[in-house]
Every structure is written in structure tokens, then in C-alpha cells.
Symmetry: C2
């Protein structure tokens, strides 16, 4: 897949995001541009761009002339609230656009599901978390929800920092199969139910 060469900024952003999710940078750590630039073998520019982007995604906090700090995950009550917002967005977008979806998009979702399966089989927590989100994103895009995706992604980012699905990877996968099948068949009620069961 993705024969299209990614831009350096995207690669750097993705790698830092993975490092954040995998706990390589503990909350409260100050990230230095030079250090990361040298590690990736690139200049400070793209690293800087990545910092700005990840700040807006909610992973990092920017402080003028001082750099970025790794944010702390939300406390349980906030997490619950954020989860409810996330669920509302997914429900709204699916209800609105499920039956009007572009046929090609079903395949994109299926690809995302397959990638999730690979991550589950490999039992790599960070990859599972990322593929999980990507699957849901493909669903939203398929239902014409690109307008709300940035907001939704920000909410997910906050949740991912406390992603707790250690162990039962098989269940994680099957829950998404339970979403995909009614989605593919335009069964609105079952799709929503499966999403509600998955996000909690």
C-alpha cells in the first residue's frame, strides 16, 4: 500500500505520535527539536511542524520560546465525558451518511480492518491502538463526515493516551468485524449498536 512517498513532516509526525502512545516520552517531558531532528536524520523544520500539529492534536502543550511538553492523560471523569462526545460524533455521522456512502469506501474500511487484524495478531499494543482509530476514521470518511474528523481525532488522541485493551486482542478485532458487516450491508441500527458496544 501507499506507494505514494509520504512527506517528511508526515513521517516525523507519525513516528513521534507512535513514540508518545508507546510511552517512550513520559508525561511532563520537554521535547527538544534538535534531539528529535538528529534521531530522524532531518532538519528542525519538519520536527517543528510536527510539534505544532501534535500540539493541536492534544498530545503536546506549546510554551512560547520554551518548547513543547508532553501532556498528561485526562483524569477518569474527563475521559468518560470525552468518550461520550466521541460516540455522539460517530453516531451522528453514521446516521446521516451510511446509506449514501461511496461504494469504493467500503473497500477502504475493509483494508483498515485487515490492518487492525494484523496488529492484533502481532499483539502490538501501540499498533492496535492506531489501527483501531484508523478503522473508525475510515468509517466516518465513508459516511461523508470529513468535516467533523479533525475534531473527532482530537478527542480520540486524548483517549488513546489511556488506551487500555491489553490482552484481549481477539475481542478487539471481532468487535470491529461486528461493526464492519452491518456497515457494509447498510444496516444502520446494527452498525450503531456495534459502535456503541465497542466504544466504552
Amino acid at each position: 500500500m501507499s506507494l505514494i512517498p509520504q512527506t517528511v513532516r508526515e513521517q516525523v509526525t507519525n513516528q513521534i505520535r507512535i513514540d508518545l502512545l508507546s510511552g517512550r516520552f513520559p508525561a511532563g517531558t520537554m521535547l527538544r527539536e534538535i534531539e528529535l531532528a538528529e534521531r530522524f536524520g532531518v532538519s528542525r523544520g519538519p520536527v517543528r511542524d510536527a510539534f505544532i500539529q501534535l500540539s493541536h492534536e492534544g498530545y503536546l502543550a506549546y510554551q512560547a520560546n520554551r518548547g513543547v511538553m508532553v501532556r498528561h492523560p485526562p483524569d477518569p471523569k474527563d475521559r468518560e465525558f470525552i468518550t461520550s462526545l466521541r460516540l455522539q460524533i460517530e453516531t451522528y455521522v453514521i446516521e446521516r451518511g451510511l446509506t449514501d456512502k461511496d461504494p469504493d469506501s467500503v473497500q477502504s474500511v475493509e483494508v483498515a480492518l485487515e490492518r487492525l487484524k494484523e496488529a492484533c495478531d502481532a499483539a502490538e499494543p501501540t499498533q492496535v491502538a492506531i489501527r483501531d482509530i484508523e478503522f473508525h476514521q475510515q468509517i466516518l470518511l465513508a459516511c461523508g463526515g470529513d468535516d467533523l474528523v479533525p475534531t473527532w481525532r482530537q478527542l480520540c488522541s486524548r483517549m488513546l493516551l489511556t488506551y487500555t485493551r491489553l490482552g484481549d486482542y481477539n475481542q478487539a478485532y471481532s468487535e470491529h468485524v461486528a461493526i464492519f458487516e452491518p456497515f457494509r450491508d447498510n444496516d444502520l441500527k446494527k452498525t450503531i449498536a456495534a459502535v456503541r458496544a465497542n466504544i466504552k
Copy 2:
């Protein structure tokens, strides 16, 4: 205020945001780094940073190797949904943190209210829209909601593009006075009611 010299990036970002809100750049327009850099008399770097930031705020859409495009405002149904999310966040944060707020923060809110008044008196639509949002943001920060502010801001950005309060500036101001007074006096019920009345 703000005797602290802002960074160039912030100034550029703010100015472009104002231009977007005031309709200087119609939806669908492609923004060019060089053009804006020359207009502000700065290099492309900060303009680029501003583009990334404004993309995440929801104003612009990034296209790899092609630049940024001014996004279209959301359609009425989406706008209604976004409004409900925004209201939920404000309600949640205020309910959670109103009584624990830092005394100093009351003054910040009062300053924001005063600025809003100035904009209303001057009858400048764009400034009213910006001061309006800043007032609400100060409320959220006062109630310890900094964790949710980025998400909230993104939702507001989408709404601002269809900000429609042309004319009744006096009412806009008085609605915010109605929020401030119970906020200052720790009257949770009245504060929430006033917020609900204001956001619609």
C-alpha cells in the same frame, strides 16, 4: 494589554484568522505562502506555521504539495450538531469547576467582557465574534477546563464562519453580562442558564 511582544507566528495566525472571519478570503480560495508572507513583511516560515495551525483549527484544508484551501462553512444541520457539542463542553466544564475557580481568573473574564463591550460599541462584526469567543474561553480556563479548550475552540471555529449576530450588538453584550454576574458569584444554575440562552 499584552505588553509582551507576541511571536511573529502568533501575529500572522491572528491576522489571517481575522481575514478569514471577515470574509476577505472566500471559501474555496487557495492561499499562497509567498503572497501572505510579502503582505505581512515576513518570511514564509511563520506563514507556513500559521497554515498548519489554522488547518487544525478547522479554517483551512491542507493538500500535500498543493497548499491550503479555505474551507466551506458547515451546512445548517451540521452547525446545529456542532453547537450542541460546544454547549455540552461549556456546561460540563462550568459544572465541574465553577466553585473551585481561581479568584484571579474572575478579573481575566471581566477584562474579556470589557473588550467585548468595546467591540460591540464599535459595531465591528469580526471583532465582536472574536471577543465573544475569547470571553467564553476565559470562562472555561477559569473553571479549569484547559484540557478541553483545544477541542472546544475547533468547534467554535467551524461555527464562527457562519457567525450571525449582525445588528443587535447591545443584546450580544448584555447576554454576556448575564453570564458574567452569576459566574462571579458562583451561582452555578444561573450561569449555565445564561450560557444556554447565549449559545444557540
